[in-house]
């Protein structure tokens, strides 16, 4: 059963047709990779899924409900969490506070005027956040300023923050971009573990073929704003059309 259904989505920026007739279906509990050369429209497509952009045509259904026209926070509350290309965390706050905020968002919703109770008195939230930090192997960093951490740790924290909301769909936008090999492999292992242990669907946009082929069990190739093929990894690897899109006609 598919959890995310993208149908005939098109998006135009002035004279540029960034997306046209994009159809995509992400199966529940799969790891679905969206790959394509620069400018293929991967990020535009992602932004259409999370409410940052509204497509000109087509529909995006998540779990049977349309996400179009909803604000990013509403889409998040529906169960879609997003990890950014450069980690988006609360740099001025401590690591523990970073983890507390999504826990509060999960429990209290988009807004709660909880101005008189102290954070320390919210035992259930504290417990959950501490537990998540342990799971992410960062319990020893809990009182550190998040901005002071290494990039790999920031990425880990961001993924942990998304997971603490118990999303049904986790979207990752080039999660290993600009990472050293060791950090990349750590991230791959983390994502594998998440996908194995949790009832979660992962959709990942990625450049790095090593990451894609170690994680994905379904791949969509985008080129010039439209899906070229959608298939299993082993078939994608040898597909001449994909090679052409990536390496140019002469290859």
């Amino acid at each position: 059963m598919s959890i995310l259904e993208v149908k005939n989505v098109g998006k135009r920026f002035g004279g540029l047709q960034a997306l046209s007739e994009v159809n995509l279906s992400v199966k529940e509990n799969s790891v679905h990779a969206i790959i394509g050369p620069n400018g293929a429209g991967k990020s535009t497509l992602l932004n259409c899924l999370v409410g940052k952009l509204i497509p000109d045509t087509g529909s995006v259904m998540f779990d049977g409900q349309s996400v179009l026209g909803r604000a990013p926070y509403e889409i998040n509350q529906m169960g879609i969490s997003r990890v950014f290309q450069t980690p988006e965390i609360f740099g001025d706050l401590t690591v523990l506070e970073n983890m507390l905020i999504p826990c509060f968002a999960k429990r209290d919703g988009a807004f709660e005027l909880n101005a008189l109770a102290s954070v320390q008195s919210q035992k259930d939230i504290l417990e959950k956040a501490e537990h998540m930090l342990e799971e992410m192997n960062m319990a020893d960093k809990r009182h550190m300023h998040a901005a002071a951490m290494s990039r790999g740790d920031k990425r880990r924290l961001e993924i942990g923050m998304c997971l603490s909301q118990e999303p049904r769909l986790l979207l990752l936008d080039e999660p290993t971009a600009g990472m050293a090999r060791a950090d990349t492999n750590n991230t791959i292992d983390l994502l594998k573990q998440i996908s194995d242990e949790r009832d979660i669907t992962i959709a990942i946009i990625e450049h790095d073929m090593h990451v894609v082929f170690s994680l994905a069990n379904r791949i969509t190739v985008l080129a010039q704003g439209t899906p070229l093929v959608e298939d299993d990894p082993e078939n994608i690897r040898g597909n001449p059309k994909v090679r052409e899109a990536y390496l140019g006609e002469s290859a």
């Binding site: 998040n76 997003r82 965390i89 609360f90 706050l93 507390l100 509060f104 988009a110 939230i125 909301q165």
Partner: protein
């Protein structure tokens, strides 16, 4: 105690001690001595310390936590003052209903202005709040003269109805604001040797309100709501993609800080029952920004210190004139005395803004965290000195040798 951590409780106690013993702390010099003009322990000035302290505490909840810089907060202070004076005119001279109405009315105004201004952030938000405040100033100054008294300001009159009170006292005077029989202007003097300490009812009333406001602000800072506000300042994008709607959070912070401003305005009118449009001018809005940054934006005690600092220097420096300077430097030869007075002259009296500007620049450049950062650095320096002393021989204790 009070549901506070040890650290916060000691901060609250510190502020309590500072405010309750202010008549002593601010009057260190005997009356009549040459240094007496540096005393600040008279009721009028002490009231201003705490009232502007409340104003700055509220402003800090918006600016210090969310980073939204409002340039129009004096408008809410002005609205609070007008509301309080109207309560004195119509209902009674009791300060409680006046202050309550001031808080409610300024809350409503800030809800409306915040709702519109918070559609933008950064510099555009600041400009929008400034525009609103200037519009309100213009309205109060001329258009709404029947409500606000226009240029002369809103004053009490002998023929005001005052339904629950008396229009005039038996002697035919306008009654004064009070709290169940206690008049705000009542004072008691304590004379010890050549020192005179003044204890004023109005000041202590304001001081108690300040303590309550400070306590409330600690609770807000330590609450999940306060943490969300800091998250807004840190990364709105992450907020939105974590399922949190930032708009109501910023609006709530805006309204809370507007109500604090209204409370300060109501207290101001309770101490001296008149309200003028100049309280809403943009310079007054700028002043609270200065207080908050000077003390330390985003810290609990910073705004209180900043307010006290600015109000102290405003009063002390503006009181010094050339005659005072001549008397200080009379020990110098005539020519030199005149030269020194000539150099210092632009920084005193009406030129005290120049001094404030220089102090502000120095603080912002060298102590971006404000006076609170200065205090932390001194403490850190003392601590490192102490540990050095303990570690090595004690020959360093007297560096003058």
């Amino acid at each position: 105690m009070f549901n506070l951590s040890k650290k916060d409780l000691s901060l609250l106690i510190l502020v309590a001690v500072l405010t309750l013993f202010a008549p002593f702390i601010l009057n260190p010099f005997p009356a009549g001595s040459a240094m007496a003009q540096f005393n600040a322990g008279y009721p009028d000035l002490m009231q201003r310390f705490v009232i502007f302290g409340i104003f700055a505490i509220g402003f800090n909840i918006l600016f210090g936590l969310t980073g939204y810089l409002s340039f129009g907060h004096a408008a809410f202070l002005g609205v609070g003052s007008y509301a309080a004076v109207w309560m004195f005119k119509l209902l009674s001279m009791n300060v409680i209903p006046a202050i309550l109405l001031a808080v409610i009315v300024s809350g409503l105004f800030s809800l409306l202005i915040g709702f519109i201004s918070l559609r933008r952030s950064g510099i555009y938000f600041s400009i929008l709040t400034l525009a609103f405040a200037q519009m309100m100033f213009a309205l109060a100054y001329s258009v709404l003269t029947p409500v606000t008294g226009g240029e002369t300001g809103l004053q009490l009159a002998l023929n005001d109805p005052r339904i629950l009170g008396a229009s005039q006292t038996p002697e035919g005077n306008i009654p004064v604001p009070g709290l169940f029989g206690l008049e705000m202007r009542d004072s008691a003097d304590l004379v010890i040797g050549s020192w005179v300490f003044t204890f004023n009812v109005g000041y202590y009333f304001c001081a108690l309100v300040l303590l309550a406001s400070f306590y409330l602000s600690i609770r807000i800072f330590r609450s999940p709501f306060g943490m969300m506000l800091r998250a807004v300042k840190s990364n709105q994008q992450r907020m939105n993609y974590t399922g949190l709607n930032t708009r109501p959070y910023t609006l709530a912070a805006f309204v809370i800080s507007g109500m604090y401003a209204g409370l300060a305005g109501g207290l101001m009118a309770s101490m001296d029952p008149l309200a003028g449009a100049e309280r809403m001018q943009w310079t007054a809005s700028g002043e609270v920004v200065l207080m908050t940054i000077l003390g330390g934006a985003g810290t609990l005690i910073g705004p209180v210190l900043g307010a006290g600092f600015i109000k102290y220097f405003e009063n002390i420096f503006s009181k010094i004139n050339d005659n005072v300077l001549h008397s200080w430097f009379s020990f110098l030869p005539d020519g030199l005395e005149n030269a020194v007075v000539f150099i210092i002259h632009p920084f005193i009296g009406k030129g005290w803004h120049l001094t404030l500007g220089i102090l502000f620049m120095l603080v912002v450049i060298f102590l971006p965290g404000g006076l609170v950062e200065g205090g932390q650095r001194i403490r850190g320096w003392l601590r490192s000195r102490k540990s050095k002393d303990n570690g090595s021989a004690s020959h360093e204790t007297n560096p003058a040798e």
